[in-house]
Point group: C2
Chain length 364, copies 2
Amino acid sequence: MDIDLAELANSCGEWLRGSGPESDIVISSRIRLARNLADFPFISKASEQDRAQIEQILHAKIEAVRAAGLLPHEVHYLDVDQLEEIDRQFLVERHLISREHAESEGARGVLIDGGEQSSVMINEEDHLRIQVMHSGLDLESAWEQINQIDDLFEQQVNYAFSDKLGYLTACPTNTGTGLRVSVMLHLPALVITRQIDKVFRSLQKINLAVRGLYGEGSQAMGDFYQISNQITLGMSEQELTGKVADIVPVLLAYERQAREYLIRESQETLHDRVSRAYGILRTAQTISSEETLHLLSSVRMGVNLGLIGDVQIPTVNKLFVHTQPAHLQKLAGIELDSSDRNIQRATYLRRHLGGEVPPPATQN
Amino acid sequence: MDIDLAELANSCGEWLRGSGPESDIVISSRIRLARNLADFPFISKASEQDRAQIEQILHAKIEAVRAAGLLPHEVHYLDVDQLEEIDRQFLVERHLISREHAESEGARGVLIDGGEQSSVMINEEDHLRIQVMHSGLDLESAWEQINQIDDLFEQQVNYAFSDKLGYLTACPTNTGTGLRVSVMLHLPALVITRQIDKVFRSLQKINLAVRGLYGEGSQAMGDFYQISNQITLGMSEQELTGKVADIVPVLLAYERQAREYLIRESQETLHDRVSRAYGILRTAQTISSEETLHLLSSVRMGVNLGLIGDVQIPTVNKLFVHTQPAHLQKLAGIELDSSDRNIQRATYLRRHLGGEVPPPATQN
């Protein structure tokens, strides 16, 4: 029942496998549903006691469902309020809970499946936030999976629902389906060719939101962008999923065109950028999280374009996550200040990119 | 008799061996003598015909001396006026002729010994400029060698000499002994710790000049500095040599103290700088001459401090010279524009620093 977070740190979620469709550009497909219990006020209006009760009820339901063998994978429940700050941060880096869930207070928890495809946050902005994340472009099966999980809960509890509005949520932007469909894209060539802002303005015009690596308000580090629907009201789940799914091939085509342009017009510059990034990651003795993301982004593109042959995409994907502050500390088994983390990060990168192996002696 | 410059490009002068005393910091010890024929006007006043005659006479004397078996090594005479621009540039990069000698016009030549310890320029600023360059701190034996060469010439020709002033030279600053004593020092730690300007101001106060890698007016690239006497009048050759020789241990102590300080106070930062420099040199696909000097300087210090174990100082010294524009082109056997040179330079560096060998596959 208990989950060992240090062990989890060493492993690697399904979405990091990098084996899904279009995974050279699409990191992951993610769907989340916002749900609330009809018998309790929204979190923003709930008392401490309300929250504790909500957490108790939902946790008990989860155990009942688990006992009945209805949950697909091995699942773990974590009392987020009882976790150390570093463990909460770790779950954020792993995309298993939101930053808001980590930073808020009071009774709250999260259900995680062993494969890290799904998680259910209790007492985030809504009473229930169900999330499913698949590797690559795979919205359809993500939708099937989340729909099943939602059905399991709906059989157990009484959701706040209006025949006119649909599912009721704490924030009106989620009311209706309570659905957010998002894809995480790696768009380095659009960044290098300075087309990214133009692309984003177009997306905003059709009511799609663009966010960074860690959701709302986070910066687009490492050239990663989350594209998601802004509106949930007035459209069906299928229509909303389709709207995001339909735009992805267009973005893929833009990014691939930009990569082809770079290869054609400035192959040497591109190869140089990619190769140096790889060289620095393999030799740095101290390196910040920001520089690491920046360099790994170049390496990831380089691997996908065949400019780097001796490292695989799953390794690169894993390094993106494992070099984040909380992961580094979980993997090292000790708390580290920023300066020690930079040293630890460089050591970790060298070890995983073959950087500590000396080259053969040169002949003169 | 003829010298193959392409072959010379591939070889490596004595002063690059890096085996002389104090060679972690002292690259080379160099002495030059300025001499003029009594029967001809100084170069600045000489007609084209005068110059041609001077060149003829001195060249003939050289052949006579050579025929008599009096010259120490295998020697080569080059008609600098007949050389391609790239070959003249090559000799400058090799420190065998001065930039001024390469760029001037009219009859002029240079005598080079096969070990590249000595060279004699004809019709540079003076009729004769004799130079001896040894690896490391070795002014005494450099002085012995140049004194012998000077004596050989003095037996053959009538030098312009005044009992009151000593040897007469085109520029009054050289009149007297005609001697310039210089040491080339590698002072990266004094640059990093921002003490270099203070050191230079002290040197200027005692009438020592500081110049860059390629002499007068050249920038101090790669943290290399030439320290030399400014005045030659009123002191004996021994006193002048002693003046430079005496200051070198002081500068060595300063540089070593600065290195120890960096190791003690910011070992990680220093190691990081050195290691990244090495990583970039081993992976860049295109790189400028300036960046190369800058990075090689860090690597050189890193090797001397034991922070890099798999490359040797002679290799690094050779790369400093072989990655210069004319050397690169001589080594490649074709003329290259600046952009192609940058690619060629990166390829050369990777090949000689083991950068093309892929690391072992990483396990995930």
